[in-house]
């Protein structure tokens, strides 16, 4: 999701928050065609499902990397887990430390 988000960013999210067009959300991407599960992802809600379900069309901000609805189709409503409220400001030093912590996991 570069340039909006960078590795190690901390997001404050609202679980069950009503999806809003143009906003970021934590979504469940469907499993790959080979059946392997994909990680939870942050995507931008760009359009209600064009097929008319109550799901959402999601896109990546980085035009070159990642998956989105153009590859996997609309995300069903129950796959929209949380709305991203804000990216928490983190001092450069702290962000660096958090990144190391998450690598160690």
């Amino acid at each position: 999701m570069e340039p909006t988000l960078h590795e190690g960013d901390r997001l404050l999210v609202l679980y069950g928050g009503r999806p809003r067009r143009g906003k970021l959300a934590v979504v469940v991407l469907p499993d790959s065609t080979s059946g392997s599960a994909r990680p939870l992802a942050v995507k931008r809600l760009t359009h209600p499902d064009p097929d008319g379900s109550d799901g959402w069309w999601v896109e990546r901000d980085n035009p070159r990397e990642g998956l989105d609805s153009w590859a996997v189709g609309a995300i069903p409503a129950d796959g929209i887990l949380a709305r991203v409220l804000v990216r928490l400001p983190a001092p450069r030093l702290l962000r660096f430390r958090l990144r190391i912590t998450s690598r160690e996991k």
Partner: protein, 153 residues
């Protein structure tokens, strides 16, 4: 700033009461913002996924009556056609070695045809799903050779 493992909340909890509060009190989780594609340096799956996106642009744009959505589909179709070419070029120029081209004499032609199908005379100029299907079929042919060379290596 919240430390990992600590709970977070927002001012909204004060307004909406304890039910909302309990929904917000959860431990941090890790989510991905990009690494949901195959991360191998060389993998024809990258070109294939972008080509599938190109096909989806065609299918969805034709089915939609929303002008904004159609316009978006056009832009994405252009971008991802270029990405298909990019990923194919990386395989063509960086992965495959002279010995591969000797063993598979059709390989250069396959790449040439595939990148053309993703170009100005291919998916960029067309809304015909058959063009995208031809592109996907070419990528599949390249992928078969790719995995044979991987096995042989």
């Amino acid at each position: 700033m919240t430390e990992p493992g600590k709970f977070v909340s927002t001012p909204r909890t004060l307004v909406e009461g304890t039910h909302m509060f309990s929904r917000l009190l959860v431990a941090p989780i890790q989510v991905s913002a990009h690494c949901d594609l195959p991360c191998g340096i060389y993998d024809p799956a990258q070109a294939k996924i972008e080509a599938e996106s190109v096909k989806a642009c065609m299918v969805k744009a034709v089915a939609s009556s929303d002008a904004d959505f159609k316009a978006r589909a056009l832009i994405v179709k252009e971008e991802r056609s270029d990405l298909v070419k990019h990923h194919l070029w990386v395989l063509w120029t960086d992965y495959f070695k002279p010995a591969h081209f000797e063993k598979y004499p059709q390989l250069n032609t396959l790449f040439n045809e595939a990148t053309k199908l993703a170009g100005a005379g291919g998916t960029k100029a067309s809304w015909d799903v058959a063009v995208a299907d031809n592109l996907l079929a070419k990528i599949d042919e390249i992928a078969v050779i790719f995995w044979e060379t991987k096995k042989a290596a």
